[in-house]
Amino acid sequence: MTIEDLLYSAEHEWLATDGSGSATVGITDFATQELGDIVFVQLPEVGTEVTAGAVIGEVESTKSVSDLFSPVSGTVTEINEALSDSPELVNTDPFSQGWLMKISLSAEPAGLLNRQDYLALTAD
């Protein structure tokens, strides 16, 4: 799946669906550039039920703390353990090694943007 095929939230998360009801979630390169160097990522525990639009964690950069919003509803099935020691992966490789979590979807993703619309949103 290329970044052209991802879905995007207005809160700067990306979502990769695998077609079998599971999705991988991360934050976009635009978000990481706005945040600066990410030094800590707090993710929900595996098994947590999340609701689209709700706060599910935090992303801390050297200068700020930002809430992390779930782009979809479902259950967290896996989190990226590498981020506890290497949160900088979110900066260096936000669409691949810097992924945040996998969610088993309880509902079809709704209200998300395609790449073109997301780029339009962040163009200002």
Binding site: Q33, G36, V39, F40, E60, S61, T62, K63, V65, N91
Partner: protein
């Protein structure tokens, strides 16, 4: 990119070309970072960084009674400041609270140059004009026409010496030997490509470093000359890493550790106030003989893990009671653990005291540690 309602450094176009991310600070648009806060921070600790600090205020005080006028206006004894020396001092109010912290240079021509925080520059100027009125002294705001470029880090001496000696860059009257022999908190006047240059061995990073003052019209050429030094060129650094650098070095920041509600001794700056100088000074009556032994004092806090205790977060006693507030805090890039400063009552201020900080609802352990967190080797 250029917001007309904001003040801009003469280096604005340089920063734009370098791809800086900007922040608004005290009405100025200044670089927050160029690429990475952490990379910029590390460059200053291990090599060298170059900073544009042209937002800082420069106020010249001159006249037959300039020294006496500053003795009355400021906390330190500036009349005794020898030519070529710099002194860290405070602008106090009548209650002994801190209106600003500043560095005063005694220039080779005998004038004084006060370098003040951008956020307080207008207040400093008004206070100095008012307080020096009855003296034979003149106060001149030189902020708009002055650029300040800092080169900080263990590699700074080699860079500054090479840049100012570089034959292609035009002549400088300050040679490498004069830069090498310039002591800490000393300054020297010279020229850069025919324009006046003041070079000082001062900074706000906890490393060796230099601050160079030139007319705004020379700023771009000086920045370029310093940046073009072969082999050891400094990394452009923004204000974000300047904040983590000064925090590790335990240096106070006005508006965080220093406010009008802070007495100098609370901030560990009692030595900055000269009660020994003759004559009155603003703040003397309030501070002299004051028993401040029960006042909260500035302490360092060290934590574990990666979550920073940030400004405004509550500091908790072992019993869970709120006993103070973090004034500055970050994950220390050099030390790898969270560091913070806070004002705490004396009974909680001993190094080793175990406390906690409420980090957005989670109580995380912190221990009182001596300041500074980081000392250069």
């Amino acid at each position: 990119m250029t917001d007309e309602s904001l003040r801009h450094s003469p280096l604005q176009s340089v920063h734009e070309a370098l791809g800086a991310t900007f922040i608004t600070f005290a009405g100025w648009q200044m670089p927050a970072r160029y690429t990475s806060d952490l990379a910029e921070h590390r460059a200053v600790r291990t090599g060298a960084g170059i900073f544009d600090l042209s937002h800082m205020g420069e106020i010249r005080i001159r006249g037959a009674q300039a020294g006496d006028a500053l003795d009355y206006s400021l906390a330190g004894k500036l009349s005794g400041l020898a030519i070529g020396r710099a002194k860290y001092t405070l602008l106090l109010n009548e209650e002994g609270g801190i209106l600003d912290d500043l560095v005063v240079y005694r220039l080779p021509d005998g004038d004084y140059l006060a370098v003040v925080n951008a956020a307080n520059a207008q207040l400093d100027l008004a206070a100095l004009v008012d307080r020096t009125r009855r003296f034979d002294a003149e106060v001149i705001d030189e902020t708009a026409g002055t650029a300040l470029i800092a080169v900080q880090g263990p590699g700074s001496e080699a860079i500054v010496a090479a840049a100012l000696a570089h034959p292609d860059s035009g002549s400088s009257s300050v040679g490498p030997e004069e830069i090498g022999s310039l002591g800490y908190y000393r300054c020297r006047a010279g020229t850069f490509e025919g324009d006046p240059l003041l070079i000082a061995r001062t900074g706000y990073t906890g490393e060796d470093g230099f601050e160079l003052y030139v007319p705004s019209s020379s700023a771009q050429r000086l920045w370029q000359t310093l940046s073009d030094v072969a082999g050891v060129a400094p990394l452009p650094c923004g204000l974000a890493c300047r904040d983590t650098l000064r925090l590790e070095a335990g240096m106070p920041l006005y508006g965080h550790e220093l406010t009008t509600a802070t007495r100098p001794a609370q901030a560990g700056l009692g030595r900055v106030v000269s009660f020994a100088k003759p004559g009155d000074f603003v703040g003397r009556a309030a501070l002299e003989g004051r028993d401040g032994s029960g006042d909260p004092v500035l302490v360092g806090l060290a934590g574990q893990g990666r979550r920073a205790a940030r400004a405004g977060y509550a500091v908790l006693s072992a019993a869970g009671d709120a006993i103070g507030e973090v004034t500055s805090g970050a994950l220390s890039p050099t030390l790898g653990h969270p560091v913070a400063m806070a004002y705490l009552a004396p009974e909680f201020s001993d190094p080793g005291t175990r406390l906690a900080v409420d980090v957005r609802g989670t109580s995380l352990p912190f221990t009182v540690v001596p300041l500074p967190f980081y000392t250069r080797s």
